[in-house]
Structures are given as C-alpha cells and as structure tokens.
Symmetry: C2
Subunit: 481 residues, 2 copies
C-alpha cells in the first residue's frame, strides 16, 4: 500500500477533503477508535502548547491562577441552573457504573465546569476579603456529537481553557468579561494571524445560563463563520441557585457576580483553514513549533562534513536568539522528500545549505507563504531570519484581513440576503429589529444565524431584513461551523 504523500485535491476545489488531508498528512491529528474522538498528535499538541504559553502568561500577569476540578459532575449540580441543564443534557456522557456496581446518582463527564466550580465557590467565599476569585482551568470537555466529526472543529472531546471568576460588583465582573475578550483577540489576531469580528451574541445564541455572551467570529475560506472564543457575563444566575454569598464591608450578605470564558483547540482548525494552501499547512511563525528548518544538501561524501558543520553553525546562531530552528540531518530521506514534508507541515522558513553555499559563506532561505527564495550571507543570517519571520506573520494576517473584509456583504432585502448566502456565503451585514422570531425564521429558512452584534452600533440602512419593520441594530449573519 502506498499513500500519496502530497495533498491530492485543491483547497479551492474540494475544501472539506483538502482540510482532512492536511490534518492527516501534516500529522496534526488522527481519528481514534471511538466515534467522535480524535488523537492530538505531537504536532498539533505543540501548537496548542504555544497557544497555552501565550494565553497562560496573559492570565497569570493579570492575577489569574490555574486549578483543577473533577472531570465528573453529579447530575444534581447540573440541574441547579435549569436553562444550563437543558442546554447541555442531550450531549452528556453519563457514568453509571464503577467496576460492576451501579452508581446511585449518574455522573456527567464535564461538558463545562460552571456547576462544579460554583459548588466549591459557595464554600470558599465568605467575606469581601475573598474576592475576586480569578481561576482558570486547562482541561478537556466532553460533548457527544451527533453530526460528523471534523478534527479540531467538531469532536466529542476537545482541549480548552475555561475561566471562572467571582466578583463583588457587576461592574468589576463586566470589566473582566471585556478584558478577557481583549486577551483572546490578541491571541487570535496577533499570534494566530486570524482577524476577527468582535461583538455580543443574541439571546438565542448566548451561552445557556449567561446574562450575555461576547464572542470573536472568524470567516473560513468556504464562506462559513467559526466562533473563535467566548466570554460570558453570568450575573447572579449561578450564584443564586448555588448560594454563593459574601459578607460585605457593609456587614450584609450579597450574592457574587460571575463570569466564565473559554477558547478551544478548534483554533488550530481555523489556522489550518485560513492559512493553508495546496501544498499543505502554513503556520504563523509565532505559534509554529519549528520556525526554521535547516536542510543540508550534499551528494558527494567528501562534502558531507563541511556542509553539516555549516548547517550546525546555522542552527546554533538561530537557537541562541530563541528562534526555534531544527536541523534535519536524517540520512534515510532525500532533500526533495524533506522539502515536501516541511512544506506540508507549514514550517515558516527553510534554509538549504550545499557545498557551493559553504564556499560562498551563505545559505539559501525560502519562505513557506510565498515560496520566495534568496541567498543570505551568514553574517546577515540572524537579522534576515528575524525579518522574514516577522514579515510572514504580518503578511498572513494582512491576507486574512483582506479575505475577511471581502467576505462581508450588505443586504437590504431578504431576497438579496438569501442570494448572497447561496452564491457566496460569508458574513451578511443586515439590519434587524431585535426580535427573536425574526432571527429564528432566518435560521430555519437559510441556516444562517446572527454571529455577532457589534459593540459600536453601526448606522441603520434598512428595515429589519426579515419583517421589514423598524430595525434597531446592524448585525452580522452567517452560516457557521
């Protein structure tokens, strides 16, 4: 059995198949033997570690601490917040047995941890001195998926972080909700090079149990939106049923104000879709596990030593400046094979060194995004590598930004709205009267939902796209993953 190593379809022709092939051939993930589950192979896990490092740093610097809560939640906890329970229960994995013994009360594998966190917060919070509590969890969550599995985008278990905070005042909690969204924006735009629309979710689309939800939305090349992260203001919706109260400076009991927020490994799927090309993955330098791969090239044995020496020197120069450089000196593969492999894996820059380069005291550097090649003198190596990596990071973002902007199309009539969705996809910018029934009608008839209500009100340019009555907001509709 021989497997075609390259991608056998074009991104523009069969997007779904192209995506799956990249996931497999760049060795990001594999299907597990259980329906709906995937294995995060080392390459995607390294990307996740880089994402973690950035976000964990931001969270710690702003006073958040990590902790760990049990993966199992008693059914009775989930039921305490009624909307929350009804929202999650259809997709819960239930533990009903240990060894050969039935368990009295079924235990849910956490779909999210608000309820079990609240159970502890009720014990831990006594006085205003205990507030705020700013806790973050890095873990995995479980949601039985009925639809087809799509690695990173839709699986029954995925990795994420979930933040859970409790505050003395609503103002402080709402500030947290916005501060976190800003961290998320920095992560997605500045590290992953993916531009997003920021805004609020509608009542229909918010987190079950929240007062309101803020979110980032990105646009994928197939015209479908992808939610990249959410930050929820929970108000007192959980503190009341869970009795999370503190004794204020006024010597009176008050319920706390809460937030919760999360980003997941689906961001890795977005990186694949937004930046990848017909040769494979293209990684933004800031999250690439390897930023530069160095490939020594020699055909005569007499060249081996000097070429390898120069390759090692190159890696040393780059590593000393904290560039993640990898020497691919495997002898069982040809240079051509290696080029294909590292292009598939989306390494931002490749450095080739042959005998003639050694003689000329130079290397050949090529960038993954444009394929551009140039000779670089060893004396300029570090400066030129740093410049190129930064240039790739900026260029990936700029290109994605153009794509996002060109994917937004205004619609003044329902006919126009439907036509845009059918022919082009993307975001449809439209006016809305604010009523849930108009939103529901569009969802039912077109599959599109309101992805975001922008923070800054935009100028109304028509009646409600559905009912034609007076509109209150300009909103962004799309079909979504």
């Amino acid at each position: 059995m021989t497997v075609e190593r390259g991608i056998t379809v074009k991104k523009s022709e069969d997007f779904s198949e192209w995506y799956t092939q990249i996931i497999m051939k760049a060795e990001l993930a594999d299907y597990a033997g259980i329906k709906g589950f995937i294995v995060f192979k080392p390459y995607s896990y390294e990307i996740w570690e880089n994402i973690q490092k950035f976000l964990d740093g931001k969270l710690k610097a702003s006073g958040h601490k990590n902790a760990y809560f049990p993966a199992l939640i008693p059914e009775s906890y989930l039921k305490k917040e009624a909307e929350h329970f009804s929202g999650f229960v259809p997709e819960v994995f239930w533990v009903t047995r240990t060894g050969n013994n039935e368990i009295g009360e079924p235990l849910a594998m956490r779909p999210t941890s608000e309820t079990i966190v609240c159970d502890s917060y009720a014990k831990w919070i006594k006085s205003w001195r205990d507030l705020p509590i700013l806790i973050n969890l890095w873990n995995s969550v479980f949601r039985a998926e009925i639809k087809a599995t799509k690695p990173f985008l839709r699986t029954s278990e995925f990795l994420w972080q979930e933040g859970h905070t409790a505050h003395a005042t609503p103002e402080e909690a709402e500030k947290e909700v916005h501060d976190i969204l800003e961290f998320y924006r920095q992560l997605v735009e500045e590290q992953l090079a993916i531009p997003v629309l920021l805004g609020a979710k509608t009542e229909a689309e918010k987190f079950v149990g929240a007062v309101y939800t803020l979110a980032m939305e990105a646009m994928m090349p197939d015209g479908k939106a992808l939610q990249m992260g959410t930050s929820h203001f929970l108000g007192q919706n959980f503190s009341k049923p869970f009795e999370i109260k503190y004794l204020g400076k006024d010597e009176k009991d008050h319920y706390v104000w809460q937030t919760s927020w999360g980003v997941t490994t689906r961001m890795i799927g977005a990186v694949v879709m937004v930046h990848g090309d017909d040769k494979g993955l293209v990684l933004p330098p800031r999250i690439a596990p390897i930023q530069t791969v160095v490939v020594p090239i020699y055909y005569k044995n007499e060249d081996r030593e000097k070429v390898l020496a120069k390759a090692k020197e190159t890696v040393k120069i780059l590593s000393a400046a904290s560039i993640s450089a990898y020497l691919d000196d495997r002898t069982e593969y040809t240079p051509g094979w290696k080029f294909n492999e590292w292009e598939m894996k989306g390494i931002p820059t490749r450095i080739e060194i042959g005998p003639r380069d050694v003689a000329a005291d130079q290397v050949i550097m090529s960038r993954r995004d444009t394929g551009q090649k140039s000779a670089v003198k060893i004396g300029d190596l570090l400066k030129e590598t740093l410049r190129t990596l930064e240039s790739i990071q900026v260029s990936l973002y700029e290109n994605a930004k153009k794509q996002l902007e060109s994917s937004i199309r205004p619609a003044k009539s329902y006919e126009e709205f439907k036509q845009i969705l059918e022919t082009k996809g993307g975001f449809v910018r439209a006016c809305w009267c604010g009523r849930s029934q108009c939103e529901a009608k569009i969802k039912e008839e077109t599959g599109a939902t309101i992805r975001t209500v922008p923070f800054r009100k935009e100028e109304i340019f028509s009646g409600c796209i559905t009912c034609g009555q007076k509109a209150t907001d300009v909103v962004y509709f799309a079909r979504a993953y």
Copy 2:
C-alpha cells in the same frame, strides 16, 4: 462559625489529622462533592506546574513529545491484554449512556492509556524509520477507590504524566526504562528534596501487563512507604495483541518493544508529609510557587510610604534575579496574621521591613525550616537570599535522608520482622528466597509488601525471612500507602 486557623494537632501525635489539616489550611486542596474526588486548588496546582516544568524540560530535551489521547477507552481495547484488563477492571468508571441513549459498547474512563495508545501505534508504525516513538501525555486518570480518600495519596481522579514509547530493540527500550527512572530520581531528590530507594518491583507488585517494573520508594514519617513513580518495561506484551509491527532494515516484520512510565500528584502529598511541621507546610525552594514573601510593617501612617517603597525595591531586586518574590501589602490583615498564613503555606523565606530597617538600610530575613532570623543589608540581599534558599533546599534533603536511613532496619527472623513492623514501621531489610508464596504470606499476615529489590545485589545475611530456606536477594519490605 470561627475556624481555628493554625494546625490544632502535632505531627508526632496525630499524623493523619495533621496531614488533613495542612491540606485544608494551607489551601492545597478541598474535597469535591463527589465521593473520592478532590479539587486541586491554585496553590497545589502551582506546585504541580513547577513539577511539570522541570520534568517536561527533561523529557523534551531527550526527544520526547507531548500528545493527547481520548479520556474514554472502549472495553474491547482494555480486554486485549488479559492481565492488564483483570488488574484494572474492578476500579473502572464506565460510561454507558450519552444523553438518553444507551451506548453499544461501554467506554472506560482511562485508568491508564496503554491500550488506546497501542491502538494508534499499530496504525502509525510501519517502518524502522518510524522508531523510536517517544510520546508523553499530561492528563488525569480515573480509578474508583473503595478505601477512604486521602487528598493527593488516594483519590478517584488524579493528575499525572504517562509516557509511552516504542522501540526497535529490547536493549533500547530497557535503556529508556532506566533513563526515565533517573529523570524521576532527579525530580524527587533534587527538586522535592525527598530521598528514595531505587530498584525493581517483584512479580506480584509489578504493573499489570509489564515484563518488569522499576520504582522509587520514599518513607513517610508515620513509617509507611510511598511509591513515588514507576517505569515499566512492557516487552512485547502489548505489541503482540495490538499487532504493532515494523518493517526492519532486514525487510522483515518485527513486533516493537515498549515502555510506559508515570509520576503523579501524589508526590505533592509526599512533600507535605516529609517536610511539613507543626506550623504547617514547608516547601523546598525549587518547587515553591513563592520563594520569598516580603511583609512591610508599619504602625504609623507617616512610616507607610517609605516602608512600602523599600519593600517594593526588595521585591524588584529579587524578581530581577528570577526569585519568585511576593509583596504582601494587603491592608486588611495584620503582620502577625500574615506571618502565620505564610508559615502555614510553607514559603521558604520571609522578609520583614519596618521603619527601623529602612533607616538601617536592611531587612529582617527568616527561614521557614529553622525559624532562624537575621538582619541583611540591602547590598547583600540578593546574595543572601540565594544562599538561604539553597541552604534550605540542601537542609531539607539532608534531614529527610537521615530519616530515610534511620527508618531502614534489618531483620533476620520473622519474629524480629513482625516486631519492627508493629513497633516502628519503616523499611525492613530482609533476605528472601524469591518465591511469590513467601511474599504473599507476609503480605497476608503483616500487611507489608516488598517495596523494592535493589539494583545492586546486597550481601545475603540470613535464610528467607519467611520460609528460612536459601535466600536469593536482600529486599526492602514495608507497609505502604
């Protein structure tokens, strides 16, 4: 309701209660609402992060990569290695339902991941070029505990790392098993300041499914041993039922040789037990989330500004040298209250600064382990802090080493053996004939097991402690957690 903030029992008088009080009052962990489960509060999780950082660095530097495998394992996978299955199945949490639908084949919450990892390795490994595979997982595992929960030592879910490697030859795999044990030894002895006995497990005590198991054993102050980490040579016990084969350079198919190994959050429990005292936790500086706490002391408002300025300067000097220093400038607590809190939390060094210290350009430094206090000139602050932290690290290890050594007692007769166990506990060094029935008899009659068979054979000094016949090994018995 007022809670006594200090520990109300002595370590030497009621060890078990002392342990539980430290866990709760130093805010390391809390019981969750589900039997057998705990919450890892931020303080213990920070210790775990420091442990992870050290070990993860060692593993990555030696070519290991992290990955993530599903938390659920089909029953049929577990059954493929018969001993493994029968060993784990009594304590498995079974998922039997999603939403309201029964699942065809029950899914086990991973008690350990050998089987699901092997299922993937069978797909991933084709040629000798694919070997070795060196993968590590940071996750949590689930084992329904019937005995009473003891935070960190015995809970139904705990955090750990599990390494899973596959090699072309048994020699390479066996080298890995030993290399990993050495990393573990460095972690436990050099970071946690806990000395260990190294050696092999007997057939009865090895990992179910392994060819053999190497382990580290530590001694707790109550005379019970604690297994601190294990490294298993799996041979081809899993590669054969899972059909993990590679095409060798000889163009023939071969089964791979495997290892697996792990350390868990139980190490945090060992740190508490070995180093803690009647005032609370005592943390080795290398894993302490805060190494130095700075407490400004002023009673007159006019002193406030200058004392705080000096305290901030102190933190700045230490932080610049990567010492984890924390300024406790909370105004809602008195200095005395703060002293007690940080002593309870085991912070290695405390720095006090009052108006007179500002005037004298000095600080008062006290060390947690001995309580010793000394005035330190600001000019000597960094040097003296580094020296003190190193001295505490060494001293904790030296004290624990003396305790370990004094806990080892030889026994020449079964009577003597039983008497040592009953009156003193600790390790009993005894000769053994190598037969499982002698080992089983001792376990049944005394509760003691063979904790370790030393790598280097020690000189036989009696007949088998049980049957009196010719002994083959000097081994270390103990009752254990």
